[in-house]
């Protein structure tokens, strides 16, 4: 059975991607088969940290993710304004009426769709009384697959540049990685999530076997660790902590939270110049310190 482990942390820049790769290295050295999925689809970086993929370009996508966005048929639109009124994302805009005031029944303007705010929910197309809105498929993300080592595949999700709802790209990327994992009979699926606690992060955490919460020994790290532990608790998932830069700052801040919440600090990673250099050169697969 393939085990799924998520690596998260709340705060950005605490070393989620680094720890995900170090964990992959460790499991690989134990002879395990690994799929690592980079679910930070807004800012995926894992491919830049691994040698075989450090040409700084993701190659041809193996799959595309689509969502549907509204288009207006002006010949059918009666400018009733229902779509503007019903859109909960404020993604449909009715320009102010330019006709002279006092005319009383001057029609409104045609609605304008703001794609950067559109969630692709299709509500407007469903409710338009004149069927003036049609939905058209647009690419919202791409999924890439790379072979890092014999038993180590990297799957990367990358969302389109200005996209409101990136959650579905996360889910599709995770599904792709799960299918790949099953096909190659992987022992572990590692999910590297984005920073924060929003829907994209949650989609990476749902129903995993274990979560590693990565943090740093500062009030910032401690603050965000408490938040992400609350979320993980809500999702009823088992969790362990990885304390990065463990020898700098104030580790007692993190130790206090771990004790209170009864969460084990599984790994303590000291600051290491070697690690920083491997990170910036994209050679993290050579580091075996976990």
């Amino acid at each position: 059975m393939m085990k799924t482990i998520a690596i998260t942390g709340g705060k950005g820049g605490v070393g989620k991607s680094t720890m995900a790769i170090l964990l992959a290295n460790k499991l690989l050295s134990q002879g395990k088969k690994i799929v690592l999925a980079d679910l930070d689809v807004e800012c995926p970086n894992d491919y830049l940290l691994l040698k075989n993929s450090s040409e700084n370009e993701l190659k041809k996508p193996v799959e595309k993710v689509f969502a549907q966005f509204p288009y207006l048929d002006k010949t059918k639109c009666k400018k009733c304004g229902l779509c503007v009124q019903k859109c909960r994302f404020h993604a449909i805009f009715a320009p102010p009426n330019r006709t002279r005031s006092g005319s009383g029944q001057s029609p409104g303007q045609y609605p304008i769709f703001l794609p950067e705010l559109c969630s692709g929910c299709r509500l407007c197309a469903n409710i338009c009384p004149y069927q003036a809105i049609t939905m058209k498929k647009k690419v919202t993300g791409k999924i890439y697959q790379e072979k890092i080592a014999v038993d180590f595949y990297l799957v990367t999700g990358k969302s389109k540049a200005v996209l409101e709802e990136t959650g579905p790209v996360v889910t599709k990327t995770r599904q792709y990685a799960e299918t790949l994992g099953k096909k190659m009979k992987a022992d572990y699926l590692l999910l590297d999530t984005a920073a924060g606690m929003h829907c994209s992060v949650i989609r990476g955490l749902l129903a995993v076997d274990l979560v590693y919460a990565v943090t740093e020994p500062t009030p910032l790290g401690a603050h965000d660790l408490e938040l992400i532990l609350q979320l993980i608790h809500k999702l009823k998932l088992p969790v362990k902590i990885i304390l990065n830069q463990a020898d700098l700052g104030k580790k007692e801040l993190v130790e206090k939270i771990a004790k209170e919440k009864r969460v084990e600090i599984k790994y303590r990673i000291p600051y290491s110049r070697k690690l920083v250099e491997a990170y910036s050169k994209g050679k993290l697969q050579e580091i075996d310190i976990l």
Binding site: G10, K11, G12, G13, V14, D40, E42, C43, N45, L48, L49, S54, N56, A67, Q68, K86, R88, E116, L117, S119, C121, R122, L123, N126, I127, A161, V162, L163, E164, E165, T166, G167, T171, A194, A195, G196, M197, H198, C199, S200, V201, I202, R203, L206, P217, T218, P219, L220, D224, L227, I228, L231, K234, L235, Q245, L248, G249, K250, Y279, S280
Partner: protein, 291 residues
């Protein structure tokens, strides 16, 4: 709107120094102008910590920026139309019962609209709280916390920006979250100027270019700060060359910054090198703003 100017600090990548820079700039501007600081990282807000503040707020108010469907099971006849209409696969029929996956639901209301039985009603969810404090530096900070497990962070950002505009101020400093999705779009979209922070690593540069796509989409003028520039000066040169026109300044790597934040000491109250480097950035910024 009572805010004359707004500067958003963003980076794409997390942990590259957004909050450090945003807090320092807010403190510097507050010496001459009326400042309002807005922490748009509503998932994991940290700006108050960088300002040397604790968790005591002057005002906390619960808000609702998202809605969730509630199903009246006495009316639902399991026709499944809502399941088909949901663009996010958040609805399913399981064991003769309609269930909502709240983590997939975006609160769009398409299910409520289509239900022929009137069995679905969208109800507001208290998904966040707004927190306000006049901080030790004398200017107000508006922050928010999205409750763990809730959605709608972009609209929470809209709400705190509106709240911030209620204060009389001459300049608003916005600290954007990591990433490029809805809360970042909400933070960036109507700013007058974006200050983008990066580090000399391939990851930070890739993420800078991702967030730059958002900034350019909204036609926002921007400047660049390279943090920890000396951890890889060759890479820094490459970045500097590429973005020569936008470069506002560089900040040196210093483990003491890590220690100072570990003790909740704002950089502007230390005598670290970074303090002078940030001041230089501040003076260059002043030249780009018309007060």
């Amino acid at each position: 709107m009572s805010v004359a100017e707004s500067i958003v600090v963003a980076s794409g990548k997390g942990g590259v120094g957004k909050s450090m820079l945003a807090s320092s700039l807010a403190i510097l501007f507050s010496q001459k102008k009326k400042v309002i600081a807005v922490d748009c990282d509503v998932d994991a807000p940290n700006l108050h910590l960088w300002l040397g503040e604790n968790e005591k707020w002057d005002e906390i108010k619960k808000i609702s920026t998202s809605e969730r469907p509630i199903i009246d099971k006495t009316k639902c006849n399991l026709c499944g139309q809502c399941v088909g209409v949901c663009a996010f696969n958040a609805l399913s029929i399981d064991h003769q019962s309609l269930v909502v996956n709240r983590f997939f639901c975006e609160g769009c209301g398409a299910c409520e609209e289509i239900c022929p039985q009137g069995a679905i009603k969208m109800v507001p969810v208290k998904n966040a709280e707004i927190r306000i404090k006049k901080n030790v530096h004398g200017f107000p900070l508006v922050s928010a916390q999205l409750y763990p497990g809730e959605t709608g962070s972009g609209k929470v950002v809209d709400a705190i920006k509106n709240r911030g505009e209620n204060f009389f101020s001459e300049i608003m400093i916005l600290d954007a979250p990591a990433g490029t999705g809805c809360p970042v779009i909400a933070a960036v979209k109507d700013a007058n100027l974006a200050v983008l922070v990066t580090e000399p690593t391939p990851s930070a540069l890739a993420d800078l270019e991702r967030v730059l796509a958002v900034v350019n989409y909204f036609h926002i003028p921007w400047g660049l700060v390279i943090n920890k520039w000396d951890i890889n000066s060759r890479f820094t040169k490459k970045v500097e060359k590429k973005y020569q026109k936008q470069l506002l300044g560089k900040i040196s790597y210093d483990q003491k910054i890590f220690r100072s934040i570990a003790n909740l000491m704002p950089i502007m109250e230390t005598d670290l090198k970074a303090k002078e480097e940030i001041k230089t950035i501040y003076y260059r910024l002043l030249g780009k703003i018309n007060f």
